[in-house]
């Protein structure tokens, strides 16, 4: 059994389902734009303080959009009773988990396609490749952790409450390093390279750890 074929099949299935139902991306895109709008009206934004405030608003919007996107990955499977059918195949649980995480990451990246230009528009901060790289690197690690906890809480009734409680503390390293990288990309003092190095280290660490844990979480 080729695990790549299984992971790609799972990711493609989730993305095709989202494309046809359009349940998640339009709602998430609206949510991030509204979050930026509230941030824009809630703070006295000017050209001096925008690079300090905008990264905070960016990560708040991203974290809450991520919780919704990752929370749905396994909840929908449980509601449809389709997770067991998938786990009854010879495909490795790690491949199934990877496919779900890839699809959820793509959905969050689609929101970021709306979020990042909108951030520049509302806050007048620079839109650069460095900013995009920082956000994408954080998305990888956040997706792996978010999907793991989404799989754990999917069978629990209070999953909407439990998912943020479990996930947010472990997302803090990504928010700290990502926040530092985004601030540097927006022209504030701080080492961009050091922050990106940290994000890559966290990505490797959490992708490996969650892949190892996924086997035990999904395999029963």
């Amino acid at each position: 059994m080729n695990p790549f074929r299984a992971a790609i099949a799972v990711a493609r299935k989730d993305l095709v389902s989202e494309w046809r139902t359009r349940e998640m991306v339009p709602a998430l895109a609206q949510f991030v734009v509204l979050a930026l709008l509230i941030g824009n009206f809630g703070f006295q934004i000017d050209s001096r303080n925008a690079p300090s405030i905008a990264p905070g608003i960016l990560w708040l919007a991203l974290v809450f959009a991520g919780l919704i996107a990752f929370g749905r990955t396994f909840a929908a499977e449980r509601e449809q009773s389709s997770l067991e059918a998938m786990l009854m195949t010879p495909a490795s649980p790690v491949a199934i988990f990877a496919g779900k995480a890839i699809a959820a990451s793509v959905l969050l990246i689609l929101c970021e396609v709306v979020l990042l230009p909108a951030l520049s528009l509302f806050f007048g901060t620079p839109f650069s490749g460095d900013l995009v790289i920082a956000v994408l690197l954080a998305t990888i690690g956040m997706a792996s952790l978010g999907c793991l906890f989404a799989a754990i809480v999917a069978r629990v009734r209070a999953r909407e409450l439990l998912l943020p409680l479990l996930t947010l503390p472990l997302w803090i390293p990504f928010i700290v390093a990502g926040g530092q990288a985004v601030q540097s990309a927006m022209g504030l003092p701080g080492s961009y390279d050091q922050a990106i190095g940290l994000l890559i280290d966290f990505d490797i660490l959490f992708v490996v750890l969650t892949s190892l844990a996924a086997r035990f979480v999904l395999d029963e």
Partner: protein, 214 residues
């Protein structure tokens, strides 16, 4: 040769005893119905036999392999239809099966063949949420036979099926070992020469052709 050998299968959900020391031997090609009231342990037994649930205690061998050590390997041999069809509503019937071909490592060319066997060719491109409950159940059966399993495990497959479906079930079970949980005694007698009766998780024994006395 025995396809299924189970000794002392016991399963507890917390303090609740769902399955109480069930012994079972099923020969290759044999068809067996599992009967019992609601809560008798039929679904638990079937999930254990399908290796979807690890029993609290007991031993299970399928095709000569330890069912829980060789679980992943055995998934190639087992086709399982749960009580709930568990399909993807946004995918068409054919796409649902193609997806499972990828996970089962089966050729996608099986899809057309299996749809025809189950009488679903005309709805191959209809989305899962637009299929009737009976058609969804047929599609779940189609999914279970995609990889040509040796052992079929059906949990109340007749729940939403019409009279013609019994023929279909007979067709897909032909040449395979099969275990069916059902409340329909007539169907059980028609499809399965052997019957296991469960009550409160305990086996009341097996019989060939159950005589139902009301």
């Amino acid at each position: 040769m025995s396809m299924v050998v189970a000794n002392g299968l016991t399963h507890r959900f917390g303090p609740e005893l769902a399955l109480d020391s069930v012994d079972l031997v099923l020969d290759t090609g044999e068809h067996m119905a599992v009967l019992g009231d609601n809560g008798a342990g039929k679904t638990t037994l079937l999930r254990v036999l399908a290796t979807a649930l690890r029993p609290t205690s007991g031993r299970l061998e399928i095709a000569g392999l330890d069912a829980f050590r060789e679980r992943r390997r055995l998934r190639h041999y087992i086709g399982y239809v749960a009580h709930n069809p568990g399909l993807y509503p946004a995918l068409s019937a054919a796409e649902n099966l193609e997806f499972f071909c990828d996970l089962q490592d089966a050729s996608r060319s099986r899809v057309a063949e299996v749809l025809e066997t189950l009488g679903l060719t005309s709805v191959a491109h209809r989305r899962g949420n637009l299929l009737s409950r009976g058609m969804q159940q047929r599609l779940a059966i189609a999914r279970a036979i995609l990889h040509e399993p040796r052992l079929l495990i059906f949990d109340e497959p007749d729940a939403s099926l019409d009279a013609e479906a019994a023929e279909v079930l007979g067709l897909v079970m032909k040449g395979r070992t099969a275990v069916i949980a059902t409340h329909d005694h007539a169907l059980a007698n028609r499809l399965c020469p052997r019957t296991l009766v469960l009550r409160h998780g305990r086996s009341l024994g097996t019989a060939t052709h159950l005589r139902v006395v009301r």
